[in-house]
Subunit: 671 residues, 2 copies
């Protein structure tokens, strides 16, 4: 059609492709480069996430150094160096100077980086703001020298542009160093690289991280675990998470020739039994060519695959931190805060969401130097990476806000929102596929399955908090009463006796009558040798009856493993860190004593030890708890009949007793 | 190196490119396809945004029909049809089945879609969940038949796959219809397609939008303006928004041979004067070849460009809604709510942020059917598109929450967060580049410049609210007093007179003494002809002095334009919608009356008219306000000396008086 082009033609002529690099150059806020402060954080974050992933894959204990230096006004030179396996020469340009290029996107397992965008985005931003290329140095173990490359991104084609390349000697066996000059600003504080690295150290207790700030300050977060977390296994896709289009694509791409084979080998969870059921229900022979299943047949296949019970996906694709390391990580990094209470961390069993395994972990810390009049500090993590921005838009925050924390002893206006109190909460979501709300990976999208697990985990931790708070307030109350009685009664007695001209009577029976408790007092002190510390426990029977008591202690399993206990306990559970004793019968006002000795390296604190007592009702305990209902212990011997003529049978010797609530309680109280 | 590959080699072998389509298939929550409910919304939104953009570009009044029908379990068929210019055959596959492809990404002007992702993402999602191709029908005005294409996306290569193509007759002169079958769910309610279309109608009062819901319900939002908004102009980049890398790229890409030419022609705002200054300060001759400016010279050039004052960018790249249409749009769509008060909408002048013009508009509505015990309803818009998700992560919400609404008469806990009250707030951000936090375009990223403008606009609207609320409470109080006096005094007088056997005295002087106000009472009613409505205003002088009063009215300018005023006003300001009268001297208890007649089509309500009076102190006004300090009016004639022997000079005739506060007040009170 000659002549003037029509409007539709004019509009059509303007249509063109947009390179992904151009897209993100123009929308850099999506990647976390909104402003100079955040640019510094995002750059450090992307480089360190990559370094940690690489070290884990190579099963190396990570040693990461982050150097931040000023380079003129509003510019920083940021260098991140690791001891990972290095990157082969050929891949250096693609890994660092090409968006949407990576090794972990297609791997169905938990990893920090998944998108193949992060570090290239930092390179893009650096070039955009300073026109300076990124300098990469990388050495792989089997080569003598390191490869050094200076890189830019050709944004119009999203391809690396190599500015220079050379070989350099490097006194490291292996590793990678990324160096960028970019428009950025550094301050220590909330949402800063410091904050990010500190939180990273909490959830990566096997890493040693060093930060050198622009003024030369050097901060080191040392590792508290020398175990490299197991490399999460890659798993095939699970049919429960498939959509129709994906299933069609996978069948077409299969290298197997029969439906039977492709279903069992290309997909997870399809056991022989499940296969039989799928074929029968879907009216397939199993001999169909996978690529010829389409249309109505395809829809039937998917429907059946969603209906038939399959094996859940292998959860070895996940790498949880675990309760022990959460506690250690928190203690290591929050040392200066000295919280009163570390709730036993909750690590939920893996669940599946749309075919992708995920799990939730929660750690909770209370008191000490945490501010009592501020909202709870919430540390969010996804696949061991701290999430510092977009707290308000994150499903983790929603789950925390929707919990009624008032029920667990914290202030919360209207039972909604972040509660107020000296509380720090760590929430970790691990998944083969974390549904982030944007490429900046700062917030988790809402999802009912994830929300459910988050809520269960939070409730678990919150219940421990409630127990601690109510225990503390009861203990405070009882202790107060105890102290008053021990101090005032003797003075009253003395005065009264003097006035009456009579001798001062023995007050123990009176105190006993008023208090009516079994009191446990634990004190810590130096051990018999300089390399040891000790905890002494005194148990006094301030009740009017003689008592046969059973004492239980729970502590971190590794502490129990290295402890010396006197007297020897009647039994221990190494895995759970529990030990128990049946004490000699304690007459009224009598006292029993135990000593626990630990190597100094354990750094055992009184807070680490939880004491439980069976043989007396909870209302009559001071300084210890009743044995919780969920403890299953093989009782060392029966509760012997109580002092005052109770007729308990001794038939319970060595019986497996599940102390679950009333029954157990009744048994113990039945003296 | 033969033998087993090293770890670095193994890792390197896993590196590969990720197609942008694969990326978004796996991360579809980023694009707004988290779940079936949201998928329906996002699909409608992307299609309608495109339709509106296309109609505006073609200067056509948009007629948009959205049909949503059930198609089996958990599936919807969504069709969106428009009367836009259509799409030429060659471009149909790319526009609908290729991510990052479009015409508006590179255009530096305000538009709804900018990313070239939206509708293709919907096509991708539909294929993923139902394996069904998108069906596109498009007809351009100069062709006889419509092109129909069925399309899928080859995700591995991000390329369209044409399933079928044909020609079809279509009884439309031009237009486009997109039809998708996808896993989705429809309910009317918050964050639904209904909600989105309703809000779209508010800010696009020139569009006619029809929604057909799955149960057959048909909802129509009719247009209230027949003016197509002007097509925003494309503008060159402004140097104040450039980073070093961008400047280098633009210089290299310039088709001009001298720095002088490229600076004035490739960039906005560089006037001849500014050019001279840039060259002088930067020590350039102007004859340098643009592509040879690099290194230190390049940095110097950027620094100078950032320092030298330039012309701000042309704001014709923006398309604000404007106060009048904001009010009309709100009134049209919120008809059923019947708010008591429409604050005069605020449309801020354009500002520049990093070289990109932007502006903020705010509309505020109060009372009527809005719930009084709920947080304010906040309607967020960017480039005339409603933002329905991620409210918590949006800079607009932050600005609203950070305003202390208690100062403006609303409840707000702690002076932070969304205030509580029967209030609906519309906030519109228009920009050539809206910094969205993600591709789903649901939230605006934080930015200090935008925040400042948002705050100023919000304060502007909030001040009107405060005036309204305090006026209302004062009026309520005074009216109450007035009513009581008018009712009770005569009864008292009558009773007293009867008891005393005396005649009932004239009470007007007493009422006047007690009230001491000038009262304005406006009532609306039918006009003298059936096509007219009228507003009658009575002004009574219940003060003990004779008064020369000036009366001012403000109303929507188009209402004033079509009104008949009796008596004729002494002056009018057509642009601002103002008229004024100097009334005959009013003796105590005397009354003056005016009539305003409007064509019925104006739908004038009493709320639309604001009354102001000069000649009496604010404390003595009832039903009207003192003339605001920011009115600059050419006084028709002087304030004539007041009744009781005041000696005001008549030298103020025709004087330009700026009624700003005390001076004016003093002048008026100086009777």
């Amino acid at each position: 059609m000659p002549g003037t082009p029509s409007l539709a033609q004019q509009l059509g002529a303007k249509q063109r492709e947009i390179s992904v690099a151009e897209f993100f150059e123009r929308n850099r806020q999506i990647l976390g480069f909104d402003n100079p402060l955040r640019a510094a954080l995002t750059t450090v974050k992307e480089a360190v996430d990559n370094a940690l992933d690489a070290c884990e894959e190579a099963r190396v204990l990570p040693e990461i150094q982050v150097e931040i230096a000023k380079e003129g006004t509003e510019r920083l030179r940021i260098a991140v160096e690791d001891n990972g396996p290095g990157i082969v020469k050929k891949q250096i340009p693609n890994v660092f100077a090409r968006l949407l290029y990576g090794s972990r996107f297609h791997a169905n397992r938990q990893s920090r980086g998944q998108q193949g965008i992060g570090i290239s985005a930092a390179v893009l931003y650096a070039a955009l703001t300073t026109a300076r290329p990124a300098r990469i140095r990388s050495k792989v173990a089997e080569e003598e020298a390191a490869h050094v490359a200076e890189l830019l991104i050709d944004t119009q084609h999203n391809q690396p542009r190599i500015v220079s390349e050379e070989l350099e000697l490097w006194d490291r066996p292996q590793g990678t160093r990324v160096e960028l000059v970019l428009k950025a600003r550094y301050t220590r504080g909330r949402q800063s690289p410091f904050d990010y690295l500190r939180n990273t150290a909490i959830v990566n207790p096997h890493a040693r991280i060093v930060l050198i700030e622009p003024d030369g300050t050097r901060i080191t977060w040392d590792r508290v675990s020398t175990e490299v977390p197991p490399v999460p296994k890659e798993i095939p896709p699970h049919p429960h998470g498939l959509e129709l289009g994906e299933l069609a694509y996978r069948l077409k791409a299969s290298k197997f020739t029969s439906l039977r084979e492709t279903l069992t080998k290309d997909f997870a969870g399809v056991t022989p039994r499940a296969l039989r059921e799928v074929l029968a229900l879907g009216k397939f022979t199993g001999k169909e060519s996978p690529e010829e299943v389409h249309g109505e047949e395809l829809e039937r296949l998917l429907r059946v695959l969603h209906e038939v019970p399959l094996l859940p996906p292998n959860t070895e694709a996940l790498s949880p931190i675990g309760p022990l390391l959460i506690k250690r990580g928190l203690r290591n990094v929050l040392g200066e805060i000295r919280p009163d209470f570390f709730a036993p961390p909750v690590s939920r069993p893996p669940k599946v969401r749309g075919g992708n395994p995920f799990l939730v972990e929660v750690g909770l810390v209370y008191g000490g130097g945490l501010p009592a009049d501020q909202p709870m500090q919430l540390l969010r993590f996804a696949n061991r990476v701290p999430l510092l921005f977009q707290q308000g838009a994150c499903a983790i925050t929603t789950a925390v806000s929707n919990l009624d924390w008032r029920r667990y002893g914290l202030d919360q206006k209207g039972g909604n929102g972040l509660p107020v109190g000296p509380c720090l909460l760590l929430v970790h979501l691990a998944s083969t596929k974390v549904p982030f709300t944007s490429e900046a990976k700062e917030a988790v999208a809402e999802d009912p399955e994830i929300d459910k697990e988050l809520t269960l985990a939070l409730q678990g931790a919150a219940r421990h908090l409630r127990t601690h708070l109510s225990r503390r307030s009861r203990r405070d109350l009882a202790s107060e009463k105890f102290i008053i009685i021990q101090r005032i009664l003797p003075q009253l007695a003395e005065k009264a006796s003097r006035l009456a001209g009579k001798p001062v009577p023995d007050l123990t029976p009176v105190i006993t009558k008023i208090m009516d408790v079994v009191a446990l007092e634990a004190t810590s002190g130096p051990g018999p040798s300089p390399s040891e510390s000790s905890v002494t426990v005194e148990l006094t029977n301030y009740t009017p009856r003689a008592r046969v008591l059973e004492l239980f202690v729970e502590m971190p399993p590794e502490d129990l493993a290295s402890a010396t206990l006197e007297p020897l306990p009647e039994g221990t559970d190494a895995e759970l860190g529990r030990a128990w004793w049946t004490l000699e019968k304690l007459a009224p006002s009598a006292r029993s004593r135990l000593t626990l000795r630990f190597p100094k390296s354990c750094e055992v604190e009184l807070n680490d030890l939880d004491w439980f007592i069976a043989g007396v009702d909870e209302a009559h305990l001071l300084g210890a708890e009743s044995l919780p209902g969920d403890w299953e212990v093989r009782l060392p011997r029966a509760i012997i009949e109580a002092a005052e003529g109770a007729s308990a049978e001794s038939s319970r010797d060595e019986a497996e007793v599940d102390y679950d609530g009333e029954e157990a309680h009744a048994a113990l109280e039945d003296e």
